[in-house]
């Protein structure tokens, strides 16, 4: 006679709990960001009072947001033994699903944080009288999502993600240094990347990194008729694919 077996939790319950617990785990980071924004607000308010705040809002460069999104998963998975038996993996949920649920929970909070940042940024821009397309762009949402997906794939898929991240960062730093040494074309493109058709495609092609980082692509999300939608979704799809592969390392049938 077999005992009555217990069921597994409903997906909705797991998602809600993971969102709650991830939010709690990130309280310290949220506090740090809030303090930084509060500190940065002070000189902006001073400049607004002096009527010289325009310079704070004339950048359409969202690279810092991308970097933060890339690093966000490191904070989120901090302390979790991803490649060792731990409490997280003893939960009665399919392991790959559980990992992806945690990633989803982090994404929810990242989007909440981004929305708050946008409100702050746009609110200050309105106060300063600098409103319009140059201030903020909704493109940052898919852009940061893509970086977040790649960051999550790093953390979930690699035993030593920080080493890999620093290595990758080092390569980019070297390339950037080389890039500056070589100089730019009159159009502002890197001579280094323009020197080869492959590098040109990687950097400035319709699916290139520049398209991902540049606000042109971000704005294109608002206007599906423009060319930027496809590259944006191309990178999103690539991020999802890489994340799936990384999460699959933790699948029920994988050996640790």
């Amino acid at each position: 006679m077999q005992p009555s077996l217990h069921g597994t939790p409903r997906g909705r319950e797991v998602v809600l709990e993971q969102v709650r617990i991830t939010g709690l785990a990130l309280r310290r980071e949220a506090l740090v960001v809030a303090v930084v924004l509060a500190i940065v607000s002070v000189p902006i308010f001073v400049d607004i009072a002096n009527g010289t705040a325009g310079t704070w809002f004339d950048s359409s460069d969202w690279v810092p947001l991308g970097v933060i999104s890339l690093l966000f998963p490191f904070a989120m998975w901090r302390g979790e033994k991803r490649f060792a038996p731990s409490f997280f993996w003893t939960l009665p949920v399919d392991r790959r699903k559980l990992a992806l649920t945690r990633v989803f929970a982090g994404w929810v909070w990242l989007m909440v944080a981004l929305a708050i940042f946008f409100c702050w940024h746009r609110g200050l821009a309105l106060l300063s009288g600098v409103a319009g397309a140059e201030t903020t762009s909704l493109m940052a949402f898919p852009g940061t999502t893509t970086f977040y997906l790649f960051g999550s794939a790093f953390v979930l898929g690699l035993r030593h993600p920080l080493r890999w991240f620093l290595g990758t960062f080092g390569v980019f730093f070297l390339l950037a240094s080389l890039n500056e040494a070589v100089g730019r074309t009159p159009e502002g493109h890197s001579r280094l990347f323009m020197s080869s058709s492959f590098l040109r495609w990687i950097a400035y092609g319709p699916y290139g990194i520049d398209t991902l980082l540049d606000s042109k692509a971000l704005q294109s999300v608002l206007n599906a008729a423009t060319r930027g939608v496809i590259p944006t979704f191309f990178w999103l799809a690539a991020g999802l694919a890489v994340l799936w592969a990384a999460a699959s390392r933790h699948g029920e049938r994988r050996r640790h």
Binding site: G7, T8, E13, G79, F87, V93, R95
Partner: protein
């Protein structure tokens, strides 16, 4: 040596079955062809020295680690392909006391666990919190070993799992709390139909609970039987032998010592059969002493050296 009947497997009466489980960590053998048979409702004590493979066997059942070969089933569910369902049936106390979420309070961790176990019994959890003296407002990072262990007991028992995997469960508990915890565990088993696997090398602590025994030595299952069989089949024989006497080769000698012409042997086998064989070989059996669970387990653990 196994006296657990194979036909029980066919009748689906076994809670846990493993088939030739083998696993290595690098060059170290953790498990080698292990065939566990744990009947439903049993309290199965898995005995072994440090590194014998007890913890690894439990992790395989939870699908926390995957074996190199072989497979395992819990209540007929394959642990590799139906890991989530298997884990829903298990309350687990790991060997380690450390918890990953140092920032979290005990109360929040219980809430977290409750969200993942539909069978979580909130009233029972509250009762366990009271009994084990767990303070819900304490952060995990500030818990002592004993406090962490008590919290792990609450987490393992509160969803009334059909299978409990307890890895060195009394480790970190002071003697008073250890007795209280084992009494609470006995009470739980009386209230809730549960199969239990306890991995330990402190056999005397769980001797009163155990009804089945498995002995792991260097990753191999040296013995597996009911407690009654163990008492019947493993005994210390005091024998007097003539000069130059050689023991019958078919006897399974676990331990031996000698004083003059008198020998004390710990032997495995049916008592009457062993006595008859010794007598037939010319030895005089002076007396036969039954062993405690711990003594018998130690005899199996030291078998190789004795041989």
């Amino acid at each position: 040596m196994s006296s657990l009947p194979e036909h029980a497997v066919e009748r689906g009466e076994l809670a846990v079955v493993t088939h030739a489980l083998s696993m290595r960590y690098g060059r170290e053998t953790a498990l080698e062809g292990v065939d566990l048979r744990v009947p439903e409702g049993a309290v199965y004590v898995l005995i072994g020295t440090n590194g014998a493979g007890k913890s690894t066997a439990m992790k395989v059942l939870l699908n926390l680690v995957r074996p190199d070969s072989g497979r395992a089933e819990v209540f007929g569910l394959d642990t590799a392909s139906r890991g989530a369902e298997v884990r829903a049936q298990i309350g687990y106390i790991p060997e380690s006391h450390a918890h990953d979420y140092a920032w979290m309070t005990c109360g929040r961790l219980m809430q977290h666990a409750a969200a993942h176990y539909p069978s979580w019994d909130h009233a029972y959890a509250a009762q366990l919190v009271e009994v084990f003296g767990v303070r819900a407002d304490r952060k995990l990072g500030t818990l002592s070993k004993g406090e962490a262990r008590r919290l792990q007991f609450v987490l393992a028992l509160a969803h009334r799992p059909p299978l409990l995997l307890l890895d060195e469960p009394t480790d970190g508990l002071d003697p008073v709390m250890r007795n209280g915890t084992l009494a609470q565990l006995a009470g739980h088993l009386a209230d809730t139909p549960t199969t239990v696997i306890i991995a330990t090398h402190h056999v005397h602590e769980v001797e009163s609970l155990a009804d089945h025994v498995g002995v792991l030595r260097e990753g191999r299952l040296a013995a597996q039987m009911t407690r009654d069989d163990l008492r019947r089949m493993v005994a210390r024989y005091r024998v007097e032998v003539p000069e130059g006497w050689q023991p019958p080769s078919e006897l399974r000698v676990l331990r031996r010592s000698r004083t003059g012409r008198e020998m004390q042997w710990t032997l495995a086998g049916e008592r009457d059969d062993v006595t008859a064989r010794l007598a037939a070989a010319g030895a005089t059996v002076r007396d036969v002493t039954a062993l405690s669970l711990e003594e018998a387990a130690l005899a199996f653990l030291s078998e190789e050296e004795a041989a």
